[in-house]
C-alpha cells in the first residue's frame, strides 16, 4: 500500500494481522488433530484452507469461533488471538467473540422462522436493533447478498421454500447482519449448484477488505479463484502457506505439489 494511503487508513492503529495462531495444537481425547500451527491472517484478505479430508481443516476453522470447546475431549495447546487478545482469555465474552467472528456452514441452515426473522436473528440476540430498525437491517443485508429483489415479497414466508443457493445467501446475510470482522466459511458452496457457487464466490470478493475471510474448501479451483492466500494442511500439519498464486504455481513442498496437482487427495 502507498505510504500516504497507509497513513490515512482508518485501521492504521489496529494490528495488520487480525487473527494469529501460535503453536496451536488440537486434540480430541487421545487423537491429535492438528499440531503446532503458526499462521497470521491479514486484515481484509481471503485465506483458503485446503487439504485432504481429515487433515484438520474444519477443526482448525471451528476452533477460531470456539465451536469445538464443548465437544467432549477437545483440548488445545498454544493460542489463537483475535486482535492481540487470546480467544480463550478469561475476560473474553464468548457471545461477543462469535459476533465478531461469523460462520457460514457446509449446507444452508436457516432457522425455523420467517425469512426476515432469519436475517435479523443475530441482531435480535445481540440486541443491536429493534422494531423498525430490524426491517432496515434485513433489507440492507438482503440487498448486499443480492437476494432482495427476488424475495422482498416473501419476507414473512418460510425460508425452506427457497432454493439451496438462496438459502445459503440468506445464511450469509444473517451472518453479515451482526457486523462481524472475520467470517469463517466451512465449504460454503459444497452443496450448491455451479451457478449459485459462482454467485457466492463473487460475493465473497466483495466482502473484502471490510471483512477478513477464511474459507475451507475441497475445490482447488475455488481456492485459486477467490483467495489471496492459501494454507495447505496435511495430516494435521500446516505444510505450507503463502500467496495463492505462488503456492499453486511454485509450491515449496513436494506434498503441496502432489496435492495441488491432484496426485494425492
Amino acid at each position: 500500500m502507498d505510504p500516504i494511503l497507509e497513513a490515512l487508513d482508518p485501521d492504521r492503529t489496529r494490528p495488520a494481522d487480525v487473527l494469529h495462531s501460535k503453536g496451536l495444537s488440537l486434540a480430541f481425547g487421545e487423537k491429535a488433530v492438528l499440531s503446532d500451527v503458526n499462521i497470521s491472517f491479514r486484515r481484509g484478505t481471503i485465506t483458503a484452507l485446503i487439504g485432504p479430508t481429515g487433515c484438520g481443516k474444519s477443526t482448525f476453522l471451528r476452533t477460531i469461533n470456539r465451536m469445538n470447546d464443548k465437544v467432549s475431549g477437545f483440548r488445545h495447546e498454544g493460542d489463537v488471538s483475535l486482535e492481540g487478545e487470546s480467544i480463550w482469555a478469561p475476560t473474553r465474552n464468548l457471545l461477543l467473540l462469535r459476533r465478531r467472528v461469523g460462520m457460514l456452514f457446509q449446507r444452508p441452515n436457516p432457522f425455523p422462522m420467517s425469512i426476515k426473522d432469519n436475517v435479523v436473528a443475530g441482531v435480535k440476540a445481540h440486541q443491536i436493533a429493534k422494531g423498525k430498525q430490524l426491517d432496515v437491517v434485513a433489507e440492507e443485508r438482503l440487498r448486499q447478498v443480492g437476494l432482495w429483489d427476488a424475495i422482498k415479497d416473501r419476507l414473512n414466508e418460510s425460508p425452506y421454500r427457497l432454493s439451496g443457493g438462496q438459502q445459503q445467501l440468506l445464511c450469509l446475510a444473517r451472518a453479515l447482519a451482526v457486523g462481524p470482522e472475520v467470517l469463517l466459511l466451512d465449504e460454503p458452496t459444497s452443496s450448491l449448484d455451479p451457478i449459485s457457487t459462482e454467485v457466492v464466490e463473487a460475493l465473497l470478493r466483495e466482502l473484502t477488505p471490510a471483512l477478513t475471510l477464511i474459507i475451507v474448501t475441497h475445490n482447488l479451483g475455488q481456492a485459486r479463484r477467490v483467495s489471496d492466500n492459501t494454507m495447505f494442511l496435511y495430516q494435521g500439519e500446516l505444510v505450507e502457506h503463502g500467496p495463492t498464486a505462488e503456492l499453486f504455481e511454485h509450491p515449496r513442498e513436494a506434498r503441496t505439489e502432489n496435492y495441488v496437482t491432484g496426485r494425492i487427495g
Partner: protein, 318 residues
C-alpha cells in the same frame, strides 16, 4: 386391516354409549350441559315418565360442574406439566452428561408406569395435606384481590380439590410429554443449532428460537396426548378432587369433580336406580367426555396446521 381396529373400536364405543344414553339425552336436554344440579331423585320411590322415558321422581341432572372441573383441572395440569416437560427434555438432550441423562430418562419412564391409583393415594394422604397446610395458605394470603388473582384467594381446604388434582395430573402427564419431547429434541439436526451458536446466541436462545420451533408440531401433539390423559384420568382424581357434584369451586383450592371421576364415583349408586335412568345419564356423561376429547384434538390439529408453515420440513432437509 389391523390399522382400522382403533377406528372401528372408537366408532363402536361411541355408538354403543350414544345408544345407551339416548333416552337420557332426550330427557335431560340442554340442561345437562349448562345445569349444575346432580339429583338422582327418589330412586326407591315413585317413577315419573317424561317423553316416554321412566326416571325416578325428582331426578335432575346437570353436568356443567363436572365438565368445568375436567377443563379446569386438565388446563392446570397442562400449564404445570408442559413447561416442566420441555425444560426436562432440554436438560436431557442438551445440558446433562449422558450418564446422568440416561438415569433421569429411565426415572421418567418409571414415573410413566406408576399406576394412577398410587399417585392418587399419595396425593390424598401426603401431598394434598402437605400443600393445604404449608403452601396454599401462603399463596392465598399473598394474592391481590383483583380479577384472575382473586381465584387464588380464599379458604384453602384440606388438600382435596382443584389445585391438588391439577398438580397430580401434571405428574402423570410429565412423563408422556417429557419423553416425547426428548425424542423430538434428539432428532433436531445439529446444523441449525450450530448456526445459532455461531451467531452468538446463548443456549437458551438456541433452544427457544431454533430447537423448540423446529419440533413445534410434535410438542403440540405430545401436549394433546397429555391432555387426553388428563381428561380421561379417573381414579386419582376421584381420590383427590373431593368429588363435588353440584357446584363449581369458587377458588383454585376448592373441592371439585370431573366427568371421568363422576363416572366412577356415581356408578355404584346409579345401579340402585331401578329405572336405569342414572346409568343412562352416566353414559351421556361419557359421550360428553368423548366429544370434549374430539373437540380438543381437532383444535390442536388446526393449531398445528396454522403454525406449521414456518416450521422445518418434516424429515428435515438439513
Amino acid at each position: 386391516m389391523s390399522a382400522f381396529v382403533p377406528l372401528v373400536a372408537l366408532v363402536l364405543t361411541v355408538l354403543v354409549l350414544a345408544f345407551k344414553a339416548w333416552p337420557a339425552i332426550r330427557v335431560n336436554g340442554a340442561h345437562f350441559l349448562v345445569g349444575s344440579s346432580w339429583k338422582p331423585g327418589n330412586v326407591y320411590g315413585a317413577v315419573s315418565t317424561t317423553g316416554g322415558v321412566a326416571h325416578p321422581l325428582g331426578s335432575s341432572y346437570g353436568a356443567w360442574p363436572a365438565i368445568a372441573g375436567t377443563l379446569e383441572s386438565s388446563a392446570l395440569a397442562i400449564i404445570i406439566a408442559v413447561p416442566i416437560s420441555i425444560g426436562a427434555a432440554f436438560a436431557l438432550t442438551e445440558r446433562l452428561p449422558r450418564w446422568l441423562a440416561e438415569i433421569l430418562r429411565s426415572a421418567i419412564e418409571v414415573l410413566a408406569g406408576v399406576p394412577s391409583v398410587l399417585l392418587g393415594l399419595w396425593g390424598a394422604l401426603t401431598l394434598g395435606p402437605l400443600l393445604a397446610n404449608d403452601v396454599y395458605p401462603i399463596v392465598a394470603n399473598h394474592m391481590p384481590n383483583v380479577p384472575f388473582f382473586s381465584f387464588f384467594r380464599g379458604p384453602t381446604g384440606h388438600g382435596e380439590g382443584l389445585l391438588t388434582s391439577g398438580i397430580v395430573l401434571a405428574l402423570m402427564i410429565i412423563p408422556i410429554v417429557a419423553s416425547t419431547t426428548r425424542n423430538l429434541f434428539a432428532q433436531v439436526p445439529a446444523l441449525p443449532k450450530e448456526g445459532g451458536e455461531a451467531l452468538g446466541m446463548t443456549d437458551w436462545e438456541v433452544g427457544r428460537k431454533i430447537t423448540i420451533p423446529w419440533v413445534r408440531a410434535g410438542i403440540i401433539g405430545a401436549t394433546v396426548l397429555g391432555l387426553g390423559r388428563a381428561f380421561g384420568e379417573t381414579i386419582a382424581v376421584a381420590m383427590i378432587s373431593g368429588s363435588l357434584l353440584n357446584t363449581i369451586t369458587p377458588n383454585i383450592y376448592g373441592t371439585m369433580g370431573t366427568v371421568a371421576a363422576t363416572l366412577v364415583t356415581q356408578l355404584d349408586s346409579a345401579f340402585a336406580d331401578g329405572t336405569g335412568f342414572e346409568v343412562r345419564t352416566l353414559a351421556e356423561l361419557a359421550v360428553v367426555l368423548v366429544v370434549v376429547v374430539l373437540i380438543v384434538n381437532t383444535v390442536a390439529r388446526i393449531i398445528v396446521r396454522r403454525t406449521g408453515h414456518l416450521a422445518a420440513p418434516v424429515g428435515g432437509v438439513i
